[in-house]
Every structure is written in structure tokens, then in C-alpha cells.
């Protein structure tokens, strides 16, 4: 596969968390608004890109037996960087995302990519893979957050977009709404894929 393929596969073919059903906790917890979702996605992308790069650069030096522990230390170091930077410059967002910033360290997507991709491929490919998957994750979070924000509080990116008599659907902002919204979105995506397959099969 070319670099372009590695980069773009994260947007549809293996878009997390739909195709790669990993790292669901932040997806469900922080997507009460589009902006929060995007903030979380970008923080995760940063960690993913750099952990992929460093795992790939160090893959020849890390003994196989202790590779998982080594990957976790690399990932944790970047999570600490994100934590400190966000605390310093984006304090508002840091407060909202709260515990889910340190929890990036146990996001299975990151360890999964380190193990499945970066430990077997060169740094440039790993960089493309990390960036693609990370941006795909950001898009998913942003879309899910926007849907929940639109239905739950009638706003989009903090602007009032619904008609004046719109009754906010508060269920969407509550925890059960997160599960249901993600479930329906996933089913929609499956439906699109199935229709595509059927078309592909017919032609």
C-alpha cells in the first residue's frame, strides 16, 4: 500500500470507532457537543501520531518480550505532554474532558496501532497511518458530538440553529443517549456498506 492509502484508510475503510470498535469510552463520554468531541479527537491524534512515530523508530531496539510495556511507556510520555499543554493553554476544555485526558493512555486504538502497525512498518508509513486513523477518530467524535448537541440542546458549535419552538431532546445528552446515538450511527454505516456491497455484487 502507498502512503496515500495508509493515510486515507482511516477515513472510511477502518474508521475508528465504527470499523475498529476500540476506544469507546471517550467516544461515549465526551461527545456532548461537537467541540468537545473534536478536542478529544485532536488530543488523541497527537498522542497516536507521535507514539506511532517513536514506536516505529525504536522497533529494532525494543526486545519482543517487553514490547507492550515499552509501548505503554512511550504512549504515557506523550499523554503527559498533552495533559500539561492542555492544562496550560486550553484550561476550559481540560476541565470538561477531565479524567479522559489521562485515560488516552489506555485507549486501545493507540496501543492497537503500535502493536499492529508501527512495530512492523517504517516511520513515514507509521506517521501516515497514525495521522489517518487519528483524524478519522476526530471526525467520528465530531459528527457524533454534533448530532447529540443538535438534538440535545438545539445548537451546533454553540450557535442556535433550530427553529424557535424546538423542544430540546435532553435524553441525547444523558449517558443512555450516548449509547443509543452511537448504536444507530453504527447501524447506518453498516447499512450504507451493505447497499454498496449489493451494488458492487450486481454490476
Amino acid at each position: 500500500m502507498s502512503i496515500k492509502d495508509e493515510f486515507t484508510k482511516g477515513f472510511w475503510k477502518t474508521i475508528p470507532p465504527f470499523r475498529l470498535v476500540l476506544g469507546l469510552c471517550p467516544v461515549l463520554a465526551v461527545t456532548t457537543t461537537g467541540i468537545n468531541g473534536m478536542g478529544m479527537g485532536l488530543a488523541t491524534t497527537f498522542v497516536l501520531v507521535f507514539s506511532n512515530l517513536f514506536v516505529s523508530l525504536l522497533r529494532k531496539f525494543i526486545p519482543r518480550e517487553v514490547r507492550i510495556a515499552s509501548f505503554i511507556v512511550i504512549i504515557a510520555s506523550f499523554v503527559v505532554i498533552v495533559e500539561l499543554v492542555m492544562q496550560a493553554y486550553f484550561y476550559q476544555l481540560f476541565k470538561i474532558l477531565g479524567i479522559f485526558i489521562p485515560l488516552i493512555v489506555v485507549n486501545c486504538i493507540i496501543l492497537g496501532r503500535a502493536e499492529a502497525f508501527a512495530s512492523k512498518n517504517g516511520p513515514i508509513m507509521s506517521l501516515a497511518d497514525g495521522l489517518g486513523i487519528g483524524l478519522g477518530f476526530t471526525i467520528s467524535l465530531f459528527v457524533l458530538g454534533s448530532i447529540r448537541e443538535l438534538l440535545g440542546s438545539g445548537t451546533l458549535l454553540d450557535f442556535n440553529v433550530m427553529w424557535s419552538g424546538f423542544e430540546p431532546f435532553a435524553f441525547m445528552l444523558k449517558p443512555p443517549g450516548a449509547f443509543v446515538a452511537l448504536g444507530i450511527l453504527l447501524a447506518l454505516m453498516n447499512l450504507i456498506t451493505q447497499i454498496q456491497e449489493r451494488r458492487g455484487g450486481a454490476s
Binding site: 463520554a29 503527559v80 449517558p175 448504536g183 453498516n190
Partner: protein, 191 residues
Amino acid sequence: MGDFILLMVSAILVNNILLIRFLGNCPFLGVSRSMDTATGMGLAVIFVLTLAGTITWLVHSYILVPLGIEYLRTIAFILVIATLVQFVEMVVQKTAPPLYEALGIFLPLITTNCAVFGVAIININEGYDFITAIFFSFASACGFALALVLMAGMRERFALVKIPRPFEGTAIGLITAGLIALAFSGFMGLV
């Protein structure tokens, strides 16, 4: 004692770690397909989470705070948890082979279970003292096991019903989880 009972009820029912706090959702959807694996995972989590909550609290209070390096909390905790899981796996394998048979395959998965790490962080963020931290860890883990077993009970029945094709697998799992969470939000205001 009353405080502890309140804390238990709050952690198990009102602020259920899986359904309301959203920690540990990967195993929740991954291993809830059958009752046996769900109970195995639930027990393994109760065991490891209580231990991990206790040890991370000690590490934070007696190593990180005196040295003034609280900002290394994330790295320190994840290392403690990863080592602990490995250690528990070895001890259980040597001392209790039947238990290892039952829990063995779940133990490595727990390293990346955000519930364990999340509870360790909540213990510190909420400023719990030592005993409260142990209680909270144990109660959260029980809440995790309860939700997991409930979910498995429902998912086992999916085999008998016809599910629309796009909803098969994870999608229907998520919606079921949403309904269970809705039932749990009935406990809100209990504490």
C-alpha cells in the same frame, strides 16, 4: 459505616462505572456475548481493580507526593497496573490453577481496561482517604461486574430473535447498553 454504605450504593447503582461514567466499555461490548465469559471477566476485574486501587493510592501518597512529582501520575499508574496484572497472572497460575483456568485469558486484557486506570485516578481526584479508596475501588468493580452480567444475560437471548441486518453485532449491543443505562438512571437521586 453509613458513609460506606452510601458510597457502595452510589458506586454500584447511581454512578455505575460502565453505564454512567463510561469507563471500561471495550470489554463491556467485547466479552458480553456469553454468561460464562462475562462472569469470568467480572470476577477478574473485581480482583484486580481492588488491588490496583489500593496500590496506586499508596504509590501516589507515599512516592509521588513526597517527591513532588505528581505530574508523572499517568506514567506511574499505568506501569503499576501493567506490572500488577502480570504479577497477579503469575501468582494465580502458580497457586490456584483452577482459578487461572477460569480467569487466565481475561487478565492480560485488564491492563488496557480503562475502568482500572479510571478508578485509580478518581480515587486521587476526589481526595479519598485510604479506606475510602479501597471501598470505592471494590464497589466500582462490583458495579462493573453487575452491568456486565446483566448485559450478557440480555445478549444471550439475541441468538433467538431476528435482528435487522444493519444492527447485527455491536450496533444492537450499544442500543441494549443504552436501555440498561436508561434503567440505571432510574436510580439517580437515590443517594
